[in-house]
């Protein structure tokens, strides 16, 4: 298509010389002609609007058009979002194809991994799930809240991690403006574009651009939003909290790790699911279970690790990886050695399975099985100061009381194998009730 002003392959900023006010349908030649002269609000008449201006302009534009989105009937918003999600699940969709061309190199993942991540992220975005989410939160009333704009600061190459708050925002009738990491600009821009192309009736509801965290002027344009959702390390989240105006509510999602807890028999299907949880995003996600604690002796840990090793090559065929970095390779050879002294270690291209004592540093794409006397003891151990903050737990054979104890440690998502990396839309990520947070 003809590029909009204010847009490029890595930027989609309605209102910054982009989509005009009230834009409700798929753009035609007439719309595009309007856009070519459509720089408003006294911004420089420059096709390549400097980013800080463009972000500010787009934020204002989205805020201005937001009420129209909010007034739209809930079923219409849900239908539009569901249509966008369906387009992302469609391998023949032009934007998905564009994503599949750009994202593997940009993110450092194999095409299979990118495709898996897109499917996993959008599989849960269905009309039914959106209705259920809204019903849970809004007591079946269609009234939107009072917020006019949400900001979203994404981080890292787990590129779909920030999707639920964006979807929630549109669902709540609040336009969303996304800041993607400078190194990973494409998905956010394509996502914003997919709303414009597949749900034009929603109007300008999502904007996106990428810039460095050092570009404070551009970030300032986004921090004027009513609610800002920040992904990144704890330092970045703190910096955003400090920079945001007092009226802006900041919801931070810092770096977390996840774990596995296993008691008793693990079926082959569960083991496949466990592998999928480990291999997703090349083992670099906050929901990647870094350690799988098995109740019992080292012999039981070794038995599980051996079964995982036997399955490793087949799983890697489904979710292949790019060659390891030198650092990962060096770390893996050390972990394998330690594991072989402790219990068991085996590895192949793109996978590793070990059984070890203690809680060693692990490597990507590694099922690291650690024996513990009693799973029930773990929540208390997770309180130790050296433990990183926990986000999710994949569980087999745990009791409801154990899961409650895990939640009490701050773990906000507990799932069976194969579901940990596919959290539902209404997951209260790190305890943040996203939809409530968007309703003002």
């Amino acid at each position: 298509m003809i590029p909009f002003e204010g847009t490029s392959a890595t930027r989609w900023l309605p209102g910054a010389g982009g989509a005009p006010d009230g834009f409700r349908k798929r753009p035609g030649a007439e719309d595009l002609a309007r856009l070519s002269t459509g720089v408003d609000d006294g911004m420089p008449e420059d096709r390549a609007l400097p980013l800080p201006y463009a972000v500010h302009a787009s934020a204002e534009h989205l805020r201005r058009t937001g009420p129209e989105l909010a007034r739209m009937p809930l079923p219409a918003r849900i239908a539009g979002i569901a249509r966008v999600a369906r387009s992302w699940r469609d391998p023949d969709d032009a934007l998905r194809r564009e994503a599949m061309e750009a994202l593997p190199d940009e993110l450092g993942f194999t095409p299979e991994m990118v495709a898996w991540a897109l499917d996993a992220a959008f599989d849960v975005v269905t009309a039914e799930a959106l209705h259920a989410w809204w019903a849970r939160v809004a007591d079946a009333t269609d009234d939107p809240g009072t917020f006019g704009l949400s900001g979203h600061i994404w981080a890292g190459n787990v590129f779909v991690a920030g999707l639920p708050p964006v979807v929630g925002s549109v669902l709540a009738g609040v336009p969303a403006l996304i800041k993607a990491p400078a190194a990973y600009p494409t998905f956010a821009a394509l996502l914003a574009r997919s709303f414009a192309e597949h749900a034009p009736e929603l109007g300008p509801c999502v904007g996106a651009a990428a810039w460095s965290r050092d570009d404070a002027r551009s970030t300032a344009g986004l921090l004027g939003a009513d609610a800002v959702f920040v992904f990144g390390d704890d330092e970045s989240v703190a910096a955003v909290r400090e920079a945001a105006p007092s009226r802006t509510t900041v919801h931070g999602f810092g770096h977390r790790v996840s774990v596995g807890l296993v008691r008793g028999e693990v079926t082959d299907a569960e083991l496949s699911g466990l592998w999928e949880d480990h291999l997703a995003y090349d083992g670099g996600g906050c929901l990647t279970p870094k350690w799988v604690f098995v109740e019992g002796s080292m012999d039981e840990a070794v038995a599980l690790a051996k079964r995982a090793a036997a399955l490793g090559p087949a799983m890697v065929e489904r979710l292949p990886a790019r060659p390891m970095s030198d650092a990962d390779a060096a770390a893996r050879v050390q972990l394998l050695g330690i594991a072989e002294f402790d219990g068991f270690g085996a590895a192949g291209p793109g996978w590793c399975a070990v059984a070890v004592d203690g809680v060693p540093p692990t490597t990507p794409r590694t099922v690291c099985v650690c024996p513990v006397d009693a799973l029930a003891d773990l929540p208390a151990r997770f309180g130790d100061a050296w433990w990183p903050s926990l986000q999710g737990a994949v569980v087999v054979g745990t009791t409801p009381s154990e899961e409650a104890a895990l939640r009490a440690t701050g773990i906000s998502y507990i799932a069976p194998p194969g579901r940990l990396q596919r959290p539902p839309l209404d997951w209260d990520h790190d305890g943040v009730a996203i939809l409530e947070a968007l309703r003002g």
């Binding site: 060659p323 030198d326 650092a327 060096a330 050879v333 050695g337 192949g348």
Partner: protein, 397 residues
């Protein structure tokens, strides 16, 4: 529990055998020893270690490699099948064929703030010294000219767990002329060094970590030269791993050479690690003065011209002694790679008599018949190295 007499006797015999091998290969270059002879001795060492080090035996059994299995291979490089122990394992497992309480030397890896320190236990230091002596002399004291040895390093008595400290102490005691000394007072003693250098009536051999030499450079030489007598040389080791500030190597050597009035080819890079009894050296001036060596190294440069030559023509490779072999392993499969291919370095060091002969490192490099092109520690792996200790001392000042 005390070591079994039979194990001690076996160990003594192996120390004798390795000592004889070292003596017999004096003058030979890297891989300058017959494959079969190396393999036979490596297998004897492996059998000893397998038999008397229970954790290592279990490790090998897990890989289904036994002394008998090696013997059945019937080829002169069966030692390549000896299960290598990753260096991190030295942190948690006592890798010794004897009661650790009987260790004559206990070397610990550097660093007090980064994780647990790795431990290399030596029942006796005799093979360690027999190994370091000829190789150090070969690359640093080619004419056996008894230089004045000055060291930026604590005396071994003050830091008895430093393998580098032990080596340097040996050089001060056995290589240096009268007046050789450690220039150290809780850190590099630059005044002591300057005084000793000013009074030197013979070539100086200065030994120090890269970080100590950086301190000398930035704290003294950049303002005031300390010219060393003609024929002097410098041994630099440890690199800048984990250091707060690093210098680009060519610039570092040039400025150091200018400040000390030594040609850059007389600055010799040494590679050693606590877990290995043997060391590697960059050929330095030997590569320029020894025509045979230059020819041999020159053929390597044809294969790997990029970044393998210093500005003054010295090949940037590390040469290991005939009793220590090196291989590169595929990072993904851990299979040994053909010569010249880039991978994680693995060593088979016959001077490791009572620990483990095969050691897997986290260092990346390429192994050529003529030497090893070291590409450094894989970024992100545990920072380690002797320069770390000096970094901490300097930071604390």
């Amino acid at each position: 529990m005390a070591s079994a007499p039979s194990a001690i006797a076996e160990s003594d015999a192996l120390h004798d055998a390795v000592g004889e091998a070292i003596a017999a290969t004096r003058g030979a270059g890297m891989y300058g020893w017959d494959d079969g002879a190396f393999d036979a001795l490596a297998r004897r060492l492996f059998a000893h270690q397998y038999t008397h080090c229970a954790p290592y035996r279990r490790f090998c059994q897990g890989r289904e490699v036994t002394p008998d299995f090696l013997a059945r291979q019937g080829h002169p490089r069966s030692y390549e099948l000896i299960p290598p122990v990753p260096t991190d394992v030295f942190k948690s497992v006592p890798l010794a064929t004897f009661d650790p309480a009987e260790a004559e030397l206990e070397f610990l890896t550097s660093g007090t703030t980064v994780g647990t320190r790795g431990r290399h236990l030596l029942r006796t230091g005799r093979t360690y010294e027999a190994s370091l002596a000829p190789w150090l002399r070969r690359w640093l004291v080619p004419r056996n000219d008894a230089p004045l040895v000055l060291a930026f390093m604590a005396p071994f008595a003050e830091d008895p767990h430093s393998s580098l400290g032990h080596m340097v102490q040996w050089a001060v005691d056995h290589v240096g002329a009268d007046g050789s000394r450690h220039c150290w007072d809780g850190g590099p003693d630059l005044d002591a060094f300057a005084d000793a250098a000013a009074g030197a009536d013979r070539p100086v051999l200065l030994l120090g970590t890269a970080r100590a030499l950086q301190f000398l450079l930035e704290d003294r030489l950049d303002q005031q030269r300390i010219p060393l007598p003609p024929g002097s040389r410098v041994m630099e080791t440890g690199g800048f791993k984990g250091a707060a500030r690093t210098l680009e190597r060519d610039d570092f050597y040039r400025r150091l050479g200018d400040g000390l009035a030594v040609p850059t080819f007389a600055i010799i890079s040494e590679y050693g690690m606590t877990e290995l009894g043997s060391q590697g050296y960059q050929p330095g001036f030997r590569a320029l003065s020894d025509r045979g060596l230059a020819r041999k190294l020159g053929s390597a440069l044809v294969e790997w011209p990029d970044g393998t030559v210093d500005p003054d023509g010295v090949p940037r490779v590390l040469v290991f002694p005939p009793w220590c072999r090196v291989g590169a392993t595929d990072p993904d499969t851990l299979a040994l790679l053909p010569p010249g291919e880039r991978g994680l370095l693995r060593f088979w060091d016959l001077s490791n008599v009572d620990s483990v002969v095969a050691v897997q490192t986290a260092d990346m490099g390429r192994v050529l018949p003529q030497g090893v092109v070291l590409e450094g520690r894989a970024p992100g792996s545990t920072p380690r190295g002797c320069s770390l200790a000096i970094d901490e001392i300097l930071a604390a000042r």
